[in-house]
């Protein structure tokens, strides 16, 4: 059979697959299919689709496609932004912990606390800061998240590896080196809870964060340039 004929047969396969051919034409196509592997293969590929058509509703096909309301995207974004602001700290911390993990596994304990800071002049809010204390004794891990709010700063501190019962006093320092007590907590072995307090001190004023832990003091700079900052042990103050 020649190409032209073959093409004609092929064009009938759509109607054949859909069962829409009159009986005589149908019989002729069936006879051709007997001897034509290529058309049989083509038919198979059309039959799968043809079998799905009864599911579709022609009126629905012709109805204009339903479009979401124009403001739905903006509402979803707003909700995500709100959730992100609320949960962002937790999200970031979760990721952060992964990097800190190993060294402190032996003392797999954590105390998360929030510290209130004495009020100081307000200012523009700055991005949330993650501060990692560096130069710590082996097994000790300290990091903090400082988050600005319209009312001031929220601090979460995450400490592990120090002796249970150790009294920890937290402070912030401003550019002039003035120290602001941020409250204290006692590190309890095996605790892993989150507490949050708020302070009226604006994060943009803070240059350094520190912890007096027992007879040692650890500090880290609060650097708005980076999300994660190495700190230094400056010894007792």
């Amino acid at each position: 059979m020649r190409t032209e004929d073959h093409r004609d047969w092929k064009l009938s396969l759509g109607a054949y697959a859909l069962g829409d051919l009159p009986a005589d034409e149908r019989a002729a196509v069936a006879a051709h299919l007997e001897g034509c592997e290529e058309c049989r293969a083509e038919l198979r590929s059309l039959e799968g689709v043809a079998a799905l058509l009864p599911l579709a509703d022609p009126d629905r096909i012709e109805a204009p496609a339903a479009r979401p309301p124009a403001d739905l995207g903006a509402r979803i974004e707003a909700q995500i932004a709100a959730e992100s602001a609320r949960e962002g700290r937790v999200r970031r911390r979760r990721r952060f912990r992964l990097g800190v993990g190993g060294a402190v596994a032996a003392a797999a304990v954590a105390a998360v606390l929030a510290i209130a800071i004495l009020p100081l002049g307000g200012g523009e809010s700055s991005p949330a800061q993650e501060v990692k204390f560096a130069s710590l004794p082996k097994g000790v891990s300290i990091d903090a998240t400082l988050e600005p709010h319209a009312f001031g700063t929220e601090i979460e501190m995450y400490v592990s590896g120090v002796r249970s019962g150790t009294l920890c006093r937290v402070f912030l320092r401003d550019a002039q080196g003035r120290t602001y007590s941020a409250g204290s907590f006692r590190y309890r072995w095996g605790e892993n809870s989150q507490a949050r307090l708020s302070s009226a001190l604006d994060l943009s004023q803070a240059k350094q964060i520190g912890v007096h832990a027992g007879n040692r003091t650890f500090t880290a700079p609060v650097d708005r340039a980076t999300a994660l900052v190495g700190g230094a042990d400056i010894g007792a103050t």
Partner: protein
């Protein structure tokens, strides 16, 4: 695009897929308000689980549809749990979800193929009109109708495959 972890990723995903997701939500829930709720919940869940999305495993579209499917089931359950006030008549039959998804995909694919092909398939197959009648109405030879049916089915297959259909 990697994991869906930034707000910008969500915005891009919304721009690319919200139309389809909403279309399916309307189709399966039969209610524009609920569909809106479903799409919103889908993107929120996607955002919360964003780190788990792995483009190596499947497309973002497939992942979002999988989430939407669960949301639709949840919404359907919530709706079913609401006590119904006395109503006359028969409860509208609820299409099983998998079938609704398939039906919606076929309808969506039909909308995406060329106008000529869609028209001919609708008139001859869905509305069972004779080829000759449709040919006359469209002012084309009957053979053209037949070939449009053929190429229309092929086009439909291509679109369905793009949407993830395999037979």
């Amino acid at each position: 695009m990697g994991a869906l972890t930034r707000e910008r990723d969500v915005r891009e995903a919304y721009a690319a897929h919200s139309g389809e997701l909403y279309g399916f939500a309307v189709r399966s829930l039969g209610d524009a308000g609920l569909a809106e709720e479903a799409v919103q919940e889908t993107f929120l869940r996607a955002w919360r689980a964003g780190e788990r999305f792995d483009p190596e495993i499947g497309s973002l579209r497939t992942w979002l549809f999988a989430i939407l499917r669960n949301v639709v089931i949840d919404l359907g359950r919530a709706r079913a749990a609401r006590p119904r006030v006395a109503e006359g008549g028969v409860e509208p039959s609820v299409e099983p979800l998998e079938q609704a998804l398939l039906a919606w995909q076929v309808e969506e694919a039909m909308r995406r193929i060329g106008e000529d092909h869609r028209r001919v398939l609708l008139e001859t197959h869905f509305r069972a009109r004779p080829y000759a009648e449709v040919a006359e109405e469209l002012g084309v030879p009957e053979g053209t109708i037949k070939s449009r049916v053929y190429y229309g089915l092929r086009a439909l297959r291509v679109v369905l495959e793009e949407m993830g259909y395999e037979d």
